[in-house]
């Protein structure tokens, strides 16, 4: 027979888990109490027509070493609300009241914030006068073992709530005592609540000190203050800052441009506030991925935090926020182009990589930023504008090794070869070529290389032909053809080039040298598909003394040694992966040469 059972919950144990294991540090109890106070005030503003926003305040009174009192003049709670919301874990009053007012006013959503106080006390006392029944003051006392009491008390306190925490935690460590200190509490409030909407004071006797700023997140109004905040909270002397304001009200804040280059892989940490309360110092997900040269202090009212309050859910609102942030950054660049070209140039120089990322990810800033981008070329570092103005054909390669191999040849001919092997550059080069009116920007092919090299004066010479025949015989087993050309610098004896198909064929050959039977079939299948257009070529530079010497050499055996050595040497200098036997060949031939003498 089926029986119904109910889950039993060890409340004391649950409180221990919630308060000691969910949150990263006891500091958060201050945040939670600030949130509760702020939310209560927001609720009262929405509900109580006689209440004025300019009267709102949160006050904190610390009796050194003994107790902390948090006071707000928000809605307060009646008895029913106390039973429902303070004593039932997981039920938040803010959820109910959401039906009557804007969702945007409530920070805490999970109803367990108050319990965080049990990290620093065994005993929470809440005194409250609800604006709905102002004649009654209630006192709720909750204990760490999960029990609580409620009673009506005599008190002259105004409408609002007082939360009293005493320094009576059993089994505490020394760090708990540190919280019962005014300076410490002030620092924590400053850390979490600097931008809270309502004034937050510490109270000591008659003296009241306001801890938070009245701050609009507007860099245009007070750039100096914003730069100071950036230095204080983000720890850098930034190049510049600008306002972030969402057209749809999703966020507001300040963006800061880093003064040094950063890698695209670095995840910048942003200081994110949720409804003016610090959510995290380590927010990463908010900005578009390409904006890695920016850090920000930003406040949002409408994005949904995860339950640990350290990140946001990946939903449409977050997506929209990112797009808006991207647009704002684009507007900032446009504005600089009009009003401060010098700063724009400085930013692009420092953040070349980031700006390339911006361009490759969209269309909006191509015309503006492309001329400022720096490219690594055979003729040194050139800007996009330099390339656009170059005036004849510019080649580019996405193979960094090929660039390094060929750049000296292009320099000698004052021809432009662009290294487009770095992140984003292939896409940017495409855009540059679409923009270009004076310069043809085309991708380097084997025929371009061949065309660039001059015909050799030894073409048709019998001795040179003999060298070519011997070289053909030797190099055939490496699927490589020799050719005689002249090129500068003279010091380069050979140049090895390989087209895409031949490169893949080489890769397959290499893999086959190590493959087991199961994979051999697969490799053979691929190999059979590589067409006869697979071409590798070893150009012998007849401007070079070594090659000229080889032309005059009669000894076939020695000639073969030299050709193989030059072949392997050209692979090494081009950073081509060697097959298993190729390094061995180099050593063997060097040894043979020593035997000849």
């Amino acid at each position: 027979m089926e029986k119904d059972y109910k889950f039993k919950v060890n409340l004391g144990g649950m409180i221990d888990i919630l308060s000691n294991h969910l949150y990263s540090s006891p500091d958060v109890f201050v945040r939670e109490l600030l949130q509760n106070g702020t939310d209560a005030i927001s609720a009262r503003i929405a509900q109580d027509k006689d209440y004025r926003e300019e009267d709102a305040k949160v006050e904190i009174e610390v009796e050194e070493g003994k107790q902390i009192i948090f006071r707000d003049n928000g809605t307060g709670l009646n008895e029913d609300e106390i039973h429902r919301f303070l004593s039932v874990i997981g039920q938040s009053s803010k959820y109910d009241i959401e039906n009557n007012m804007a969702n945007g006013d409530y920070i805490g959503r999970f109803g367990i914030g108050l319990l965080s106080c049990f990290m620093v006390t065994d005993h929470i006392c809440v005194r409250t006068r609800s604006y709905k029944c102002p004649d009654t003051v209630l006192e709720w006392k909750g204990m760490a073992d999960g029990t609580y009491t409620i009673e009506t008390i005599e008190s002259t306190m105004p409408v609002g709530t007082e939360i009293i925490i005493e320094n009576n935690k059993t089994d505490k460590d020394d760090s708990v005592d540190e919280y019962y200190n005014c300076d410490n509490i002030s620092n924590i409030i400053y850390y979490y609540g600097l931008f809270l909407k309502y004034p937050v004071y510490t109270v000591s006797g008659e003296e009241k000190t306001r801890l938070n700023l009245k701050f609009d997140f507007d860099a245009d109004k007070d750039k100096k203050l914003c730069m100071t905040l950036g230095k204080t909270f983000l720890g850098e002397d930034f190049l510049d800052c600008f306002t972030l304001r969402s057209p749809t009200g999703l966020f507001s804040g300040i963006a800061y441009v880093l003064p040094y280059p950063v890698s695209a892989n670095v995840h910048n940490m942003h200081r994110i506030y949720l409804k003016n309360m610090l959510l995290t110092e380590n927010g990463q997900k908010l900005l578009p991925e390409w904006a890695f040269f920016i850090r920000c202090i930003i406040n949002t009212n409408n994005l949904k935090p995860t339950s640990s309050r350290e990140d946001f859910y990946e939903d449409e609102a977050l997506d929209r926020a990112r797009n808006e942030l991207g647009d704002i950054i684009a507007d900032y660049f446009e504005d600089l182009d009009i009003h401060n070209k010098e700063l724009l140039y400085k930013i692009v120089s420092i953040h070349n990589l980031a700006v390339k990322s911006v361009i490759s990810s969209g269309d909006s800033m191509d015309d503006l930023l492309l001329p400022y981008i720096i490219f690594h070329t055979s003729l040194g570092d050139l800007t996009g504008k330099d390339i656009l103005d170059f005036g004849s054909t510019a080649f580019y390669t996405i193979d960094e090794n090929q660039f390094r191999q060929l750049a000296p040849l292009y320099v000698q001919r004052s021809q432009l070869l662009i290294n487009a092997g770095y992140v984003y550059e292939d896409a940017i080069i495409t855009k540059l070529s679409e923009m270009s009116r004076k310069t043809d920007i085309i991708k380097l092919t084997d025929s371009d290389i061949d065309f660039m090299l001059d015909d050799s004066e030894f073409d048709g010479d019998p001795a040179a032909d003999k060298l070519l025949r011997t070289a053909s015989k030797i190099l055939r087993k490496y699927d490589c053809k020799p050719a005689l050309k002249e090129f500068r610098p003279f010091e380069i004896p050979t140049l090895y080039t390989i087209n895409e198909k031949a490169y893949k064929a080489r890769q397959i050959k290499r893999s086959k040298q190590n493959a087991n039977n199961i994979f051999m079939g697969m490799l053979n299948s691929f190999e059979s598909e590589i067409s006869s257009n697979a071409v590798a070529c070893l150009y012998l530079n007849t401007n070079n003394l070594i090659i000229r010497k080889l032309i005059d050499m009669d000894d076939e055996e020695k000639l073969s040694c030299y050709i193989e050595i030059l072949y392997v040497q050209s692979l090494l200098s081009g950073h081509f992966p060697l097959l298993n036997n190729e390094m061995k060949i180099l050593n063997e031939n060097l040894y043979n040469l020593m035997s000849f003498t």
Binding site: P288, S361, N401, V423, T430, K504, N516, G521, M522, L523
Partner: protein
């Protein structure tokens, strides 16, 4: 040398071919130094790079070398078996997406994966997952190693999650795909995808995949509004994360096809962004989907009265290339259809079915 010293060789290079070449160079450096530990890490990096940003060809070719190095160093298995098995999973996806590789060889490689699972103390959840996904993608009713897609899925679900399982977002996306593609149950699929669609879980390719799968479902079931909505959501994420390379081609092709019928200007814009990276793609699976999408785009342009279209055709050696950059939509329609058909015939021949030709010949009367 530390790993970071090797990484400096390639970390600033562009994703795809440039980075693969850089990693290849780093691998050779490590092998020269007999630094097998870093070599194993770099082999993994290479496979990962080509799998996510390339067309998988390089990963497929290099993988046997990786296996050989891994097998030769059992003392490193405990530390690097996790990487190795993940790379093997990706390599399997690469192998099956090239029609050049016979099905029998692919099955053998699956068997070998299964053996490694046993040898390295992993359960077979990932093996069964790969199996059902492959069978679904290629229209295979059964394989020598498995009698049906449903059986593979069932066996997968019987195995607990382990280190080789996908992250939460990936698992949710898988389940949702299964309900869409195999059980044809949209309600179950939506329920399975709830954590993804609500934003609670995500990963590098989810919800990109999920949105595109739902887009395709609604497109096939005559709900163009929802299809467009999901397609654009997927497109937004793809443009953010994967626009300039060969990744997610199946999904890009589907989005292209759907947008051709629902938002022609957007489809054309997307096509123009993708045409260059796709031109260097050697993978049959990737190309089939892109060419199919391109075919539908040209079909819709033609139907819409656009006799010509301006595009920067990347391959100047292709017979269709013309310097004016203006192309007849009718000519391009045939061009892309023929290219897709070539691949469809090869896959169907390999797999002994008509799956790809069926996909290609589907008509949409929107």
């Amino acid at each position: 040398m530390l790993y970071q010293d090797y990484a400096e060789i390639f970390e600033d290079l562009a994703h795809g071919e440039p980075k693969c070449r850089g990693i290849r160079f780093a691998i050779d450096k490590a092998l020269e130094r007999q630094d097998f530990e870093n070599a194993l890490i770099l082999y993994f990096d290479y496979v990962e790079e080509d799998y996510f940003y390339g067309d998988g060809f390089q990963a497929a070719i290099l993988f046997p070398e990786y296996v050989s190095c891994f097998d030769s160093h059992p003392e490193l298995h405990e530390k690097y078996s996790y990487n190795f098995m993940w790379a093997f999973k990706w390599a399997l996806s690469c192998f099956e997406s090239f029609y050049q590789i016979p099905l029998s060889q692919i099955t053998d490689m699956y068997r070998q994966y299964s053996e490694y699972c046993e040898k390295l103390n992993y359960n077979k959840r990932s093996y069964y997952r790969k199996l059902w996904c492959m069978m679904s993608n290629y229209g295979l009713k059964s394989l020598p190693v498995c009698s049906s897609i449903e059986q593979a899925h069932r066996l997968m679900m019987h195995c607990p999650l382990d280190d080789l399982s996908e992250v939460k977002a990936g698992e949710a996306d898988d389940l949702s795909s299964y309900y869409l593609d195999i059980e044809k149950d949209i309600d179950k699929a939506l329920k399975a995808a709830e954590p993804i669609l609500s934003g609670k879980v995500s990963c590098s390719t989810v919800p990109h995949y999920t949105y595109s799968n739902f887009a395709m479902w609604y497109f096939e079931h005559n709900d163009l509004e929802k299809a467009e909505n999901y397609a654009k959501k997927s497109l937004r994420l793809i443009m953010r994360d994967f626009v300039a390379d060969n990744s997610l081609m199946e999904h890009k092709g589907k989005i292209l096809m759907i947008l051709a019928y629902t938002d022609l200007p957007e489809a054309l814009k997307f096509f123009r962004r993708q045409i260059k990276p796709c031109s260097a793609n050697e993978c049959g699976w990737d190309n089939f989907h892109f060419f199919r999408g391109a075919y539908h785009l040209m079909h819709c342009l033609e139907k819409n009265g656009e006799q010509t279209v301006r595009i920067l055709f990347p391959d100047t050696n292709d017979p269709i290339y013309n310097e004016s950059n203006n192309y007849s939509t009718a000519v391009l329609k045939k061009y892309y259809f023929d290219k897709a058909k070539f691949i469809a015939d090869r896959f169907d021949e390999r797999d002994g079915n008509h799956h790809f030709n069926y996909l290609l010949n589907k008509k949409y009367n929107y």
